[in-house]
């Protein structure tokens, strides 16, 4: 049972344009959401997060939007740069106490072309 889904395995965007990566979840207990970026042969790198009490969080070129009623979140990257080419994982957690049990999506491979 996949509780976090990234339905687009890949996405290609031109440099300078907006990249929009989507994520859907099914577990109503999730209240903290994160995006990670991963390069080959490296571990996931934290990008940005959002708590369920918010609907938007922005950090430089990265903005995450959360629609709780639709159980949907998205990551916007503006403008996209070639260095953004990587696999992006969406993750969710039911709580942020002593330990957070992150559930990951299967990732979306973003290719930013020149």
């Amino acid at each position: 049972d996949q509780q976090v889904k990234q339905n687009s395995p890949s996405l290609s965007v031109q440099e300078g344009r907006i990249s929009i990566l989507n994520c859907d979840y099914t577990n109503s207990m999730f209240d903290y959401f994160l995006w990670y970026k991963k390069y080959p042969a490296e571990g996931p790198t934290f990008l940005i997060s959002i708590s369920s009490i918010k609907d938007k969080n922005e950090d430089g070129r990265f903005t995450v939007f959360l629609n709780k009623s639709a159980k949907h979140l998205s990551l916007h990257i503006v403008p996209s740069q070639p260095g953004d080419s990587a696999v992006y994982f969406c993750a969710a957690s039911p709580y942020t106490g002593t330990a957070s049990k992150l559930t990951f999506g299967t990732g979306t491979r973003l290719q930013v072309t020149l």
Partner: protein
């Protein structure tokens, strides 16, 4: 300075062997984790320790045993390795309250 480090990076071994993967973090975090990324790229949590105490223990065969000698280290020992154990294993750490987790570079385990 590497924040979360793992050794070895690659591990190739025969079925039935016992092996260990080591993880160290120098971020001063109290909580550490082990994740497994299988061939389908699913990244799933296995264990979590907070200050040397087991907090999360997912449905993992008891051939897998985490050990935390101190809060900066969380090692993973695997007994009687099987073909299905082949995967990339990631260590991670976080502060308390646990929000974002910081991951190590991964250990690619191949069981022949």
């Amino acid at each position: 300075d590497t924040a979360v480090s793992q050794t070895p990076k690659y591990l190739v071994t025969q079925m039935g062997n016992d092996k260990s993967i080591k993880c160290e973090q120098n971020l001063g975090h109290d909580t550490m984790y082990w994740y497994k990324q299988d061939s389908k790229k699913f990244l799933k949590i296995m264990f979590s320790y907070n200050n040397k105490e087991l907090i999360i223990n997912e449905t993992v065969p008891n051939r897998f045993s985490p050990k935390s000698p101190d809060k900066a280290h969380l090692n993973l020992h695997i007994n009687s390795l099987e073909l299905g154990d082949s995967a990339v294993y990631f260590c991670a750490s976080s502060q308390v309250p646990a929000t974002e987790q910081f991951f190590g570079p991964g250990t690619r385990l191949t069981v022949l």
